[in-house]
């Protein structure tokens, strides 16, 4: 099974705090793929809200996303959209 990868930059001023993490988990739960976030030398299951929060990803930090499974491609695309939607200047704290 192929692994797909995506590099993203945290678009939210206050980092990936509880609300964006909730949005991420809500989205990923609709896919069967295994998705992981990697920040420097720590990583987490991206469907685990506590895992994401423990990563403590701050504004502007880069995260590597890896996906494994049948719908991994779709999952990462959807995730990319979620992050992009808030890259615009109007977003300060979307949630």
């Amino acid at each position: 099974m192929d692994e797909v990868k995506l590099h993203i930059t945290v678009p939210w001023k206050s980092g990936i705090h509880v609300r964006p993490a909730t949005k991420i988990v809500e989205l990923l739960r609709t896919f069967s793929a295994e998705v992981e976030f990697i920040k420097e030398d720590s990583q987490c299951n991206a469907k685990s809200i506590l895992g994401i929060l423990t990563l403590a990803a701050a504004y502007g930090e880069s995260i590597t996303v890896t996906g494994k499974g049948d719908d991994a491609n779709e999952a990462l695309h959807a995730l990319n959209r979620l992050f992009k939607e808030y890259l615009g200047g109007e977003d300060i704290n979307p949630f």
Binding site: V18, R19, T22, S48, L50, G51, T54
Partner: protein, 568 residues
């Protein structure tokens, strides 16, 4: 296994499951499960999570039109259903043969620890949210068998960062094996209650209690001031032996129950008890005490800040009924900004110990004071009741309090309500000025009771609950002994009885010099009576007087302490 050191405040050893009061609403049992039950426990956990998630989903739906709020509960639901948490709980059940409750409690506790270590708070879910979610799952796991603090079926060791005065006052009588708190000191409220109830307790543990997870086996060594978290087999066995030895010693001491507190050369010392509620009278009578030397009536206000005359009267009657003709010294309320119980609005002071507290507060709120005095006087015809005013610091204050008492008596007389007109009136000697003026105050009272805790605090200018100066709180300071002796002499001169009702009266180390100075009455925690009785029964007044003389001649606390410790 982890060992942590704190301050020992109530002797004895307790071994039992921890009940962490700050984070848990229910007691978490720890059970070792057989191999064939593993899948079953895992399934129970899943079902509990499912139910918790369903509840959260309902809240989410109900708040749908408030997106800001709805998303919070969605987040909570995801926390409850967190796949990594589930994996950890499954592993814990499988490798530790734990029941689902304990496994869940352990995993959630680790999450809380992680959050506490977070440097950037904005990422973290609030600790209270996490606790709420854990409690939600736990409620489903425990089902109808769940036990809250007030419905405990199994005895526990109470673990808490801090216990409020109200919490300690309402502790279930026989379900608390031991107590450990992060804050507090020897004379803090928790300590006093633990000693009264004979519950082993260690306080001032820093933040050791955060290392304990509900259901953990813990040991409280209230003699050495040590707690042990998740003890190994050997330690557990050793402490079980200590417990057994304590039990034997306790049985030996209880044989003293019907023997008098008499010195070897035939002097009788009256041992009375300090209590906070009438329910404690039963504990007191079990140690064959000669009644109550200090009834701290302010605790009437804990459950009812607006306590009426009838509330007071009924409470006193309850105590008198149990005591019969035994003495009951009722101290009028000793409230202050630090101990308000909601009685006074906006009672805030920077320095409550030097503020408007105790008798000062009563003299400012005469109606409230009279309400209590009426109730005491009415109850006085039913038993052997004395009145005691706390915190008197001058003759004027005493005369004012007595004048109000006379007024109340006149009112009762006019209303033809019976009372004992010759009820004995005494004062606490706990402010240095009162000790220094004892020969003047003695002419106006029937008895003195030396409250050593406050007397030491005010004499040495040490706030006993401030950890930075707590080491300066020294009962053996020569200044304290000198003041006590001054009071005893004034008492002798004017025929006024002098008793000691502070913590010193319950410590073997200080009892001998106290009786050596001429104290013939002590009031202490009922649990300490057998031990103190044994001390009294194994000395003579001659020897005690010699030691008192030596201690009074000391220049420093260290010197005095050395003499006390060397005395056999």
């Amino acid at each position: 296994m982890k060992i942590r050191k704190g301050v020992p405040v109530s002797t004895g050893v307790a071994i039992g499951p921890a009940f962490v009061l700050d984070t848990e609403s229910y007691r978490i049992p720890q059970i070792t499960i057989p191999l064939d039950q593993i899948a079953n426990e895992q399934e129970r956990y899943l079902q509990a999570v499912k139910k918790a998630a369903e509840e959260l989903k309902k809240i989410e739906e109900a708040t749908q039109n408030m997106r800001d709020i709805s998303i919070i509960f969605q987040g909570h639901r995801f926390i409850a259903e967190d796949p990594e948490t589930q994996k950890e709980v499954f592993e814990k059940i499988e490798t530790g043969f734990c029941n689902a409750e304990y496994a869940c409690s352990q995993v959630m506790w680790r999450h809380r620890q992680k959050i506490l270590a977070f440097s950037n708070e904005s990422f973290a879910p609030r600790l209270s949210d996490l606790e709420e979610i854990e409690n939600r799952i736990m409620r489903h796991l425990l089902g109808t068998k769940r036990e809250s603090l007030n419905s405990l079926q199994t005895a526990v060791v109470l673990v808490s960062h801090d216990l409020t005065t109200a919490q300690t006052a309402t502790l279930p009588q026989d379900k608390v094996l031991g107590i450990m708190t992060d804050t507090g000191g020897r004379t803090s409220h928790t300590a006093i209650v633990a000693r009264t109830r004979g519950i082993p307790a260690v306080v001032a543990l820093g933040n050791a209690t955060s290392e304990i997870c509900g259901g953990d086996t813990v040991i409280v060594d209230g003699t050495k001031g040590v707690i042990i978290i998740r003890p190994d087999e050997e330690t557990l066995e050793r402490y079980k032996r200590v417990q057994q030895e304590n039990l034997i010693r306790h049985q030996k001491l209880s044989q003293l129950k019907n023997l008098p507190a008499q010195t070897l050369d035939g002097y009788n010392i009256t041992l009375r008890s300090n209590i906070e509620t009438p329910s404690e009278v039963k504990i007191v009578l079990a140690t064959s005490s000669r009644g109550i030397g200090l009834y701290r009536t302010e605790f009437i206000y804990i459950n009812k800040p607006s306590a009426s005359e009838e509330d007071h009267y009924e409470t006193y009657c309850e105590a008198i009924q149990l005591l019969g003709t035994r003495k009951l010294v009722i101290r009028t309320m000793d409230l202050g900004a630090d101990k308000n119980f909601g009685v006074f609005d906006d009672l805030f002071e920077d320095n409550p110990f030097l503020g408007c507290r105790s008798i000062r507060l009563c003299l400012e709120n005469i109606t409230l004071f009279k309400t209590q005095l009426r109730a005491i006087l009415r109850a006085s015809v039913l038993g052997n009741v004395d009145i005691m005013f706390p915190m008197i610091s001058s003759l004027e204050e005493l005369l004012q309090a007595k004048a109000i008492l006379t007024e109340v008596k006149a009112e009762l007389k006019a209303e033809k309500i019976p009372f004992r007109p010759d009820i004995k009136v005494g004062i606490m000697i706990e402010v240095p000025s009162a000790a220094i003026m004892a020969d003047i105050l003695a002419r106006e009272v029937d008895f003195f009771s030396i409250g050593t805790n406050d007397l030491i605090q005010y004499t040495l200018a040490v706030d006993r609950s401030n950890e930075r100066v707590a080491h300066l709180y020294k009962p053996a300071h020569p200044a304290v002994f000198r003041l006590i002796q001054q009071v005893v002499q004034a008492g002798k001169q004017y025929g006024v009885k002098v008793s000691v009702c502070g913590e010193m009266a319950g410590e073997a180390l200080y009892v001998i010099p106290l009786i050596g100075m001429g104290i013939r009455e002590l009031s202490l925690s009922p649990g300490l009576i057998p031990e103190i009785k044994e001390v009294i029964r194994s000395t003579t007044i001659r020897k005690a007087a010699g030691l008192a003389k030596e201690v009074l001649a000391c220049h420093t606390h260290e010197e005095a302490l050395e003499k006390l410790l060397r005395h056999d």
